[in-house]
Structure formats: C-alpha cells, structure tokens
C-alpha cells in the first residue's frame, strides 16, 4: 500500500524518559540542543506523573528550545495542553478517546496514536490520525509489563493494513532498524536508547544514514 505522509513527518521519534523529577525538562532540552538540521526529529514529551500546569510550562519551555531546530514537539495524551502551548502535535495512547473528537480544537496539529494490533491500527487510521507508533517490536525492559514482543511479522502486518506512516517501537537499535524498514515501517521511536547524551551525537549520525539514505 502506498504511504500517505504528512509533509514534514520525521522518521525518527525520541520519547522523553518519563522520570523528569520536576518538569524542568533538563534531558529533553539537552537532546534538542544536540539535534542537527539534517536529521528531522519528533520529540514526544511523555511525563505522565506531572500535573497539567507543570506540563504546560514544560511545553512552552521546549517549544522555545525547539525554535530554529528541525524538530517537532509532541505531547503525550493531553491534546488540550498541546493546543494551549501551540505545540506541533499530540500523541494519543491506545486507551485514549477517539482522535476524531480532537480536530475541532487541535486545528492542524499532528495527531499520532499508539497501537498494539492491526485491528487497532486500522481503527486509528480510519479515525483520521496522522501516524501510528506500533510495538513493542523487540524485547525491551520498559515494555515487558505489556507482554511478549510483537515481532517483525506483526509489524509488517500493521504496516500493510494502513496507508499512514507507522513508527516501530520497543527494543529498537541501529542494528535492527533496517529490518523494521524492510517490513514497511516509516521510521522508528525509542526512549532509553537516547537517554545517554554522551552517545547521542553518534547515534544521530548512525540513524541519519539508516533513515535518510
């Protein structure tokens, strides 16, 4: 199936660690600083423990940090906060409400959604989301609570079922990324892989080669 891609959707998605102690966004700001113009990036803020006022302030801080950078800032779940802070998009959990209810107040913001099955992917695509994140494809400590990894075959099934871009998540490395792309993935998403900022510049170089050549 041909892929219908929003004009600027990056192939790399970095998700925040989920343990920002106070909403200062220290790690995310450092990651944004290290990004380079040649590698577009989706940066998803996913800090479920922070209250709405802290998330709003963090969103404004990161939006300012992203100015002039080739990065789109996306907030997990809270479309209201994303819209209020004029972020680039919102990422809905699989257990969230129907995304088509969002368009009235999110305007042209990107809407992404996490899915864990082909059926759920199809439903999400029909409800008008712009991209999907599917996983966990490989084994990863942070996702073991959700059961066994889904594997490359399931990834291929999901990519084949929908015409919107699918990012693979869960145990992603530079080594296994080409196999995800072969299954039809548009790009990849990762969290802990990018949490060590000393390895970050090297990883960006590697992913730029894999994703954009």
């Amino acid at each position: 199936m041909s892929i219908d891609v929003p004009a600027v959707l990056p192939r790399l998605c970095i998700i925040s660690s989920g343990n920002d102690p106070d909403g200062s966004g220290l790690l995310i700001r450092r990651q944004i600083e290290l990004l380079r113009p040649s590698l577009p990036c989706l940066m998803q803020i996913r800090e479920k423990h922070l209250d709405a006022s802290t998330l709003f302030r963090l969103s404004l801080t990161l939006k300012a940090a992203a100015t002039g950078k080739n990065v789109l800032i996306i907030l997990n779940e809270r479309a209201d906060i994303a819209a209020a802070a004029a972020l680039d998009g919102v990422h809905m959990r699989e257990s969230s409400y129907p995304p088509d209810r969002l368009r009235s107040f999110t305007g042209r913001m990107l809407i992404g959604k996490s899915v864990h099955s082909a059926e759920s992917a199809l439903n999400a695509a029909q409800s008008g989301v712009d991209y999907l994140i599917f996983g966990p494809v490989f084994d990863t400590p942070s996702k073991r609570q959700y059961g066994k990894p889904q594997g490359l075959d399931k990834l291929g099934e999901v990519c084949g079922a929908v015409s919107i871009p699918v990012l693979a998540i869960g145990g992603i490395t530079p080594e296994n990324t080409p196999r995800c792309l072969s299954e039809g993935a548009y790009g990849i998403a990762a969290l802990s892989l990018f949490s060590d900022t000393s390895r970050f510049p090297g990883l960006l170089t590697t992913f730029e080669k894999i994703l954009y050549s």
Partner: protein, 210 residues
C-alpha cells in the same frame, strides 16, 4: 447558565461508578455535575463524560469536567473545572471559547480575583470545613471567610469541602451561590435521597431569605 437559586453541585468520587452516582444526584435535584477522576484513562473518562452529559441534558443540569479540557471539548461538556495545578485559566479560556463554563478552585480572595480576571465563570472556594475526600495540608477556611471572597468578586461562589446536611446553610448564608459535595452524596446509604435533602434544605433556606 449558573442557576440563580442556591444549588447543589455533585462531584463524582474516585472509587465509585461515576455515571450511576451522577444519575442519582440528578434525580435528587443536583443542578451541576462535575466529573472528577484522576486515575482513569482517556477513553474511560470520555465514555463517562458522554454518558453523564446525556443525563445532565435530560435533567437540564450543567455538566463540568475536572482538569481535562480536552475531554470536556471532545465530549461536548458544558464546561471545565480547573484547580491551581491544572491548565492556567487564560490558556484554558482560549481553548474553550466564550460559550463554555470555566470554574476555578481558589482558597483565598486574591486567588478568586485572579480567577475572575482570567475569565472564570464561577469559583469553587474551600475547603470550608474539614474533609476526608481530598488530601489537604492547609486548615479549613471556615464559612465566614466566604464574605471576604464575595466582596472581592462578582462571579458566583460554589462552597466546597466537608459540606453536609448539618452545615450546608452556613456557606449559602455567607454568600455562596451553591455548594459542592462528594461524600455527602456518594457515601450516603441512599445517594438520591441525600441529594434531595440537600437541595430541599438549600431552597427552603432561599425562601426564608426572600
């Protein structure tokens, strides 16, 4: 849109089925329902919101969603209620437009004034009496402090915190337009009857005042 008679707002509690309880509160005469559930996921909140909104329409009551402006808009609720740790009032107002109700929790005349300036349609003021429904670190403000808030702002005051049939008239007599309760209805043996008794108490009092 806020009722002119002293009214009852029922806030759903964390542990019970919010739709059932909201239905009982409405049958008992509650004029406003606030869906408040901090641990439910987005889909669950949305489904509850749709169901409670339909009940509120049937009873000609106001439906408010706590904290989640997105859920309120997605479900077509009448408005939102925001605490001091939620989305700032001015930012929320932009999303809500002029047509929807925005309530803000405050605990001082200063916060009440700021809420009014930032576009609040009403304030929730408290906690008036000691309460076990929400973890509180500060002392109750007491019903007499409502007069100071009443003098500071023009928008309606809904008194909250530890209100029951025993003390519900005190905040109304001190200038509140309504009272908000959680456990006085949710933990009653008969929630509908508990709501009805509160409403009757408030409105009888109103007749006395005239």
């Amino acid at each position: 849109m806020i009722p002119s008679l002293p009214f009852l707002c029922f806030i759903t509690d964390e542990s019970h089925s919010p739709v059932d309880l909201a239905g009982k509160a409405l049958e008992g005469g509650a004029a406003m329902i606030q869906l408040r559930h901090k641990s439910a996921n987005g889909d669950q909140l949305y489904q509850w919101a749709i169901a409670i909104q339909a009940l509120c329409r049937k009873h000609k009551a106001i439906f408010i969603v706590n904290d989640r402006v997105d859920i309120a808009l997605a479900a077509g609720a009448d408005g939102v209620h925001l605490g001091q740790q939620d989305l700032p009032a001015a930012a929320a107002r932009k999303l809500l437009g002029k047509g929807r109700i925005m309530g803000i929790s405050v605990s001082s005349p200063q916060e009440a004034l700021a809420a009014e300036k930032n576009g609040a349609d009403y304030i929730g003021f408290g906690h008036i009496f000691p309460t076990g429904s929400k973890a509180k670190t500060n002392d109750p403000v007491g019903p007499e402090s409502i007069a100071d808030v009443r003098a500071a702002i023009k928008i309606p005051i809904i008194a909250i915190g530890g209100i029951s049939g025993k003390n519900a008239l005190l905040p109304i007599n001190a200038g509140a337009s309504g009272i908000a309760v959680i456990s006085a209805v949710s933990r009653a043996d008969d929630p509908k009857k508990a709501a009805r008794q509160l409403v009757e108490l408030l409105q009888t009092n109103y007749e006395h005042c005239r």
